[in-house]
Symmetry: D2
Subunit: 239 residues, 4 copies
């Protein structure tokens, strides 16, 4: 029998003997009653930005779609097996989640690949190439944004004044943030989403997670910029 | 500004003040050096079966694709935006993960939908319907399996002897397990996967997580059945 | 062989497979280098108010004395084996901690016993009776405090205006808080403490933990009252 | 107002926003109903060996006495304020715990001080000197134990065969373990303990925690030696 990765087995024991031991009743209850999560989170596959860790979520709390670069394709994209669209449909229509959060993050490998002019196909099928072409509109909108602070959405006279957290590359950060906004726009092309948003059953949210400093930035749709959760929501910050 | 879900904000504070506070150096290091996860985990969006929780994983450890019913489509499936295939390509070819784990779970809503004869489309596009049609081969292989123990892959004379954990429906459990096996077979239709598996750079694994009892079952390819991690790997069990 | 309590063994496995697994390097390092905690915490034995949990402390961070009702006897108390005095001497003089925190808590069984007029000795030796007689000065100072808010140290015209958190008994809460202040006063009778406080090497602090609401109140020596940590220190509060 | 230690405030926020947030119902319930812990743990003040961490305990589970070197004085020791004896009396007679565990640990500063021939009083009162004189019987019993494995309680022909974990000093380890046995013997001089042990209401246990490797050794009274919890109790070990 092939040896299962030891690190995962060790971790599974940690789960079993600590998390599960302390909350076995909750797991049994959730297994019996079915899940009723309040929110769906659309996040990247990145190993450093797991939604359950960033939101310290317990079992049953968030329904999570993860793909490279946390992208939402437009509603009418062709294709027989559209896993991301299917997952959104299931969350919104079948489970009736009340919130959908698109969460981008800093230093995203998928965004970096899309920005790399010398990028070569990883495979003949080039699935990743097609997938990250969904970032093209964000890249175009960001182009020429001299003196632009990509996160706060303000213009700055000197590039060095741009708020670029934790040594992130300003252009990549700008694309990461713009892409979250594009995904929100794409979500609104789904009839069952725009309908539910209109009558108040559903709310859409954008966020961007700074891996290095652990900071979560939340998209302010009116200001068209991102603001730190700790500022807007009366949180205190870890010094 | 739209109010971000309070539960997520509360949870984010927990992350910030506990997990991040204790491991900020690791986060900074990972942000600077980039991710190098050893394993990719393909799991369901279900809110009760997050891989980072089940494997008690720290930042940087696992690259995670999540879609409804943790399915892998065949390599040649048409479609412009194939998020699952793209994520696999990125993990295997670009990041060079050494393990891919397909983890199914009990009481899966996607599998239940596929088994529901009266299921109706949730949307005109019926993305979920097309997506879970990937379960058809598993459903067919399971059909007529009277007296069959779906998890352990053994025949039993009396249906009630079938090992069906924690009150799970035997037919659904059988499909969940068979589907993990189908996804492994589909992964092997990807040229870059079969090649890497052949020369030892990559290993594929199947698993099934019993939400109710917290038990992880690992697929034994030779025996064609699943065995509890705690039995096969010298683990002790939580009484 | 006598069976070790199963609950502790289960919990130890949780530690081993989760906490220790994630921080084994830190444990090895601390074992090799010895401990150098910055703070000593004097707390109650109560099973609901463990300092390492309330302060989310990692290994090596706090040196902890625990006795019934978190009391500090006066320096010159007679007796051959004075474990509390010995522990303070070791922390302050040998380890050189820079902070000593006396943390009381709500619904303290030791304080309740001291306030119970019908209390009977639990044992001929009545060690507990002698020990909690250290609460007598606090009880006396609180007596007759009509219209007094025991936590905030303000006078109120109507008893019902007294800030009594979470349904705590006002008189008991008053004694718990006054006792923290008495313990601070007793600490200052230790020559090596008053000397170190005078020259700035050591700072003394008082706190009171409300088990029910998870609130930590911090003693303000100038105001002679307790204030919530979340108010004085710019923290946000869990709604 | 004196500044409360920032590290403790940061940690308190972690507790408030993570542990307390997830278990506030349990805290409220425990505050209302009172504590009913099943076990008392007598442990050292050492910052690297907190019982709640080693036993991954939730609120309400263990009643904890902590003093330097986790010592239990004899029942009849004189002295007005005997905090350790008082805490034991409260746990056993008033709370009615069913287990008392004495847990020693490796590299104990209190034991090291007792073994240091050149040790000088830290204070005129020398409370620590009197307190650790409780270790004298253990030191005497260990003296001359050439070729003796202090943990496993077996004789070895060559000193280097002695099982001394993680680079611990063999003599100090021997005293740490012997002292746990002495404390168990001292507990049996308490009339209310021997009585309860005789009629089965109470069980006494010894343990020794190896900080470096995270290993817990449990005392086997019949064999007069310590055995790893992972061996005796069918646990698996973290590789």
């Amino acid at each position: 029998m092939t040896r299962f990765p030891q690190k995962l087995l060790d971790g599974y024991q940690g789960f079993l003997h600590s998390t599960y031991r302390k909350r076995s009743e909750r797991y049994r209850e959730l297994a019996a009653s079915g899940q009723r999560p309040e929110a769906m989170v659309i996040a990247c596959c990145d190993s450093r930005a797991a939604p359950e860790i960033v939101f310290d979520s317990g079992p049953g709390e968030i329904f999570v779609l993860r793909n490279v670069a946390n992208l939402v394709p437009p509603y009418n994209a062709e294709g027989r097996y559209r896993s991301s669209v299917a997952s959104i449909e299931f969350a919104v229509v079948s489970l009736g989640v009340r919130h959908v959060v698109v969460m981008g993050h800093g230093r995203c490998g998928g965004v970096a690949a899309a920005l790399d002019d010398r990028r070569q196909s990883l495979d003949d099928g080039d699935a990743i190439g097609h997938w990250i072409s969904l970032l093209d509109p964000a890249i175009e909108r960001v182009a020429g944004g001299e003196g632009y602070d990509p996160v706060r959405h303000v213009h700055v006279d000197h590039p060095e004044d741009a708020h670029v957290c934790s040594g992130h590359d300003p252009r990549q950060t700008a694309v990461e943030c713009m892409s979250v906004r594009n995904s929100l726009a794409n979500l609104r092309t789904f009839p069952y989403i725009s309908e539910r948003e209109a009558d108040g059953r559903l709310t859409l949210h954008g966020a961007w997670f700074d891996i290095s400093e652990g900071m979560l930035w939340i998209y302010d749709e009116e200001a068209e910029g991102f603001v730190p959760a700790i500022e807007t929501h009366g949180m205190s910050v870890q010094k």
